[in-house]
């Protein structure tokens, strides 16, 4: 009997891999390697580009390393564009959005998944429809509404719609999770005399940390990177968020190529750093966020 007995916990895929020809394996690795280059080289190229001087950039040797690292590109970029100002604005906007999304959507999710009431399903459907609505279709009416409310050109004109557009997916993720919490938990809490707010705050929220993390990650990636709303509703230099700031800097500053590259690297840096720290959590969160419809 040459048949292998499946060992619990060992994936058959791994076993199958061992039986393949080394040649096949080499070809596969070359293929995956090529993909690695196409996906990452442009980013690496940008980093190298940002450290070259203008002559080196224009001379046409795309793979050469800079003879001398031009850190001055970075100091130029920071000095002539309000990098830290933009960074702060992005930080304020993204954090406020995150806090509000978490607060509002956890309240609704709790009501949808734990209360006995007639319209829970209807509210859920309302949120599900919202996931299909393209943000740009609301640009114009939102601008008119915000003009009326006199909050155009303030960070509120970004935070409010960001919160509104992030809640559907947040409610979807959180109510899905909260539905799976056993009901015995709150039954015993009720017996112990806890009121609704107490159950919400001390029973449900503490166990719902994982989906809240997912919501945080999704909100961070979406809002930190958002460009169109920021470019439409904000015109004050002092209120620009990072993507908008980077874009206006790059479009205006067209002769110093190295500084442009440096600014793009600086623009990408916060997200890249966070990705290095939390890659696993971010990829998991983004998969959860993809589950629309």
């Amino acid at each position: 009997m040459s048949q292998t007995i499946p060992v619990a916990g060992v994936k058959p895929v791994a076993q199958r891999g061992k039986q393949m020809f080394p040649l096949a394996k080499i070809i596969v690795f070359i293929l995956l390697g090529i993909l690695l280059v196409t996906q990452l080289y442009p980013l690496l190229w940008l980093l190298i580009y940002s450290l070259k001087n203008n002559e080196e950039i224009l001379s046409g040797s795309f793979f050469s390393l800079p003879s001398k690292l031009m850190w001055s590109n970075y100091t130029d970029a920071i000095a002539s564009g309000n990098y830290f100002k933009y960074l702060l604005n992005s930080l304020i906007t993204t954090t406020s959005t995150m806090v509000l999304v978490l607060l509002l959507s956890s309240l609704v999710s709790f009501a949808i998944s734990r209360f006995r009431w007639k319209y829970g399903q209807l509210v859920m459907v309302l949120f599900l429809i919202g996931m299909m609505i393209p943000m740009q279709a609301t640009l114009l009416p939102l601008m008119l509404i915000f003009k009326e409310m006199k909050i155009l050109n303030t960070l509120w004109s970004l935070i409010l719609p960001y919160v509104a557009f992030q809640t559907p997916i947040a409610v979807f993720i959180m109510s899905g999770f909260m539905k799976s919490i056993p009901h015995e938990i709150e039954e015993s809490a009720v017996v112990d005399g806890a009121n609704v707010l107490r159950i919400f705050w001390s029973v449900i929220i503490p166990v719902s940390i994982p989906p809240m993390m997912t919501v945080c990650i999704l909100t961070f990636i979406n809002i930190w990177n958002e460009y169109i709303l920021a470019a439409t509703f904000i015109s004050k230099e002092a209120l620009k968020t990072l993507p908008f700031g980077v874009n206006s800097f790059v479009s205006q500053y067209s002769v110093n190529y190295g500084a442009i590259g440096a600014y793009l690297v600086l623009g990408a840096l916060p997200v890249i750093v966070i990705y290095f720290l939390l890659a696993d959590k971010i990829t998991k969160g983004m998969v959860a966020g993809a589950v629309k419809g």
């Binding site: 048949q3 060992v10 895929v13 791994a14 891999g17 596969v28 993909l35 690695l36 996906q39 442009p42 190229w45 580009y49 046409g60 040797s61 795309f62 509002l104 959507s105 309240l107 609704v108 009501a111 998944s113 209360f115 006995r116 309302l126 299909m132 609505i133 740009q136 279709a137 609301t138 640009l139 114009l140 009416p141 939102l142 008119l144 509404i145 809640t167 709150e186 039954e187 009720v190 609704v196 990636i221 990177n225 958002e226 460009y227 169109i228 470019a231 993507p243 980077v246 874009n247 793009l264 997200v271 890249i272 990705y275 890659a279 696993d280 983004m286 993809a290 589950v291 629309k292 419809g293």
Partner: protein
């Protein structure tokens, strides 16, 4: 069965704050936009109710509109064509690589970057060689000078340059999604298939493909809806130019509303876009529900 019996006021306290923000800033604007689509209005002066005139102009008299719809749909087709590639990569990763998470995370890197960074990076890459553009420099150095182009300003290739950037950015996303899907298929099933003599490609055909249909749907919805909404990348890279050669539905809407100040007309395009998104979601769900019933 939900157990908590609470008063109406409690429900209201939990639901209303979020619902008001959400309805007020998503639903009402969409409804306002649908109504504005029926107006002749420049946003400042008095508006005139013109019924379906805007839609008539849009569908029959706008030389930019249908080409922009075609480009939007092409965008969707290209994005969806990428998914089988992603699935293939995911299968290879799952089968041959001991630590696949490294590759998956590396491929995923472009996804988390802002369109501004991605768009400006590729604008730089597409630059003429004399301005330091990588692509043209590569072509010149390998002796293909005749293949160099000004990738974003020649009307007949600019759009393809944009499609490519979107494909490049989202390959990692689809790979990640498919990879996660494959990992969730129970190992027992492959074991059982192996005993029945199905391994490698055969196992993929009979197990991975049908079991992964729900995950496939996620990717398709993401690619399709994402492409219909493709907007910011085009705005950053070309803003619809040269001469409308890269206009998609949403950039056309934006240019009409915010540059030409035709608020009513822009709103009618927005209405069309919303309708298209909802329709696409319904159709995709319908198709996949049938597929799932057939194969799982």
């Amino acid at each position: 069965m939900n157990v908590l019996r609470v008063s109406k006021w409690t429900i209201a306290a939990f639901v209303l704050p979020c619902l008001i923000v959400y309805v007020g800033l998503v639903f009402i604007p969409v409804l306002v936009s649908m109504y504005s689509g029926l107006l002749d209005w420049n946003g400042i002066g008095t508006s005139k109710f013109v019924g379906l005139d805007n839609f008539k102009t849009l569908l029959f008299d706008d030389p930019v509109f249908w080409p922009s719809v075609r480009r939007t749909l092409m965008f969707a087709v290209f994005s969806m064509a990428e998914i089988p590639v992603a699935l293939f990569v995911a299968i290879l990763l799952n089968r041959f690589v001991k630590k696949p998470n490294f590759f998956v995370s590396a491929y995923f890197m472009p996804v988390i970057l802002s369109v501004v960074i991605i768009g400006q990076l590729w604008k730089t890459i597409y630059n003429p060689a004399a301005m330091g553009g990588m692509l043209n420099q590569v072509l010149e150095q390998i002796g293909l000078s005749s293949w160099t182009h000004s990738w974003l300003t020649e009307p007949n290739i600019a759009m393809y340059s944009l499609y490519f950037v979107a494909l490049w950015q989202y390959l990692g996303y689809h790979t990640l999604i498919q990879f996660t899907g494959i990992q969730n298929i129970s190992a027992d099933i492959y074991e059982a298939a192996k005993i029945d003599g199905a391994e490698g490609l055969k196992a993929d055909w009979y197990i991975t493909f049908p079991m992964n249909i729900p995950i496939f749907k996620i990717s398709i919805v993401l690619a399709f809806i994402g492409s219909l909404q493709a907007f910011d990348m085009v705005m950053v890279m070309t803003a619809g130019g040269p001469a409308h050669a890269t206009d998609v539905i949403s950039t056309h809407m934006y240019n009409m509303s915010f540059l030409s100040m035709k608020y009513g007309y822009g709103s009618s395009i927005a209405t069309f876009l919303v309708a298209l998104c909802l329709l696409a979601t319904v159709v995709i769900n319908f198709i996949f529900n049938r597929l799932e019933r057939k194969y799982t």
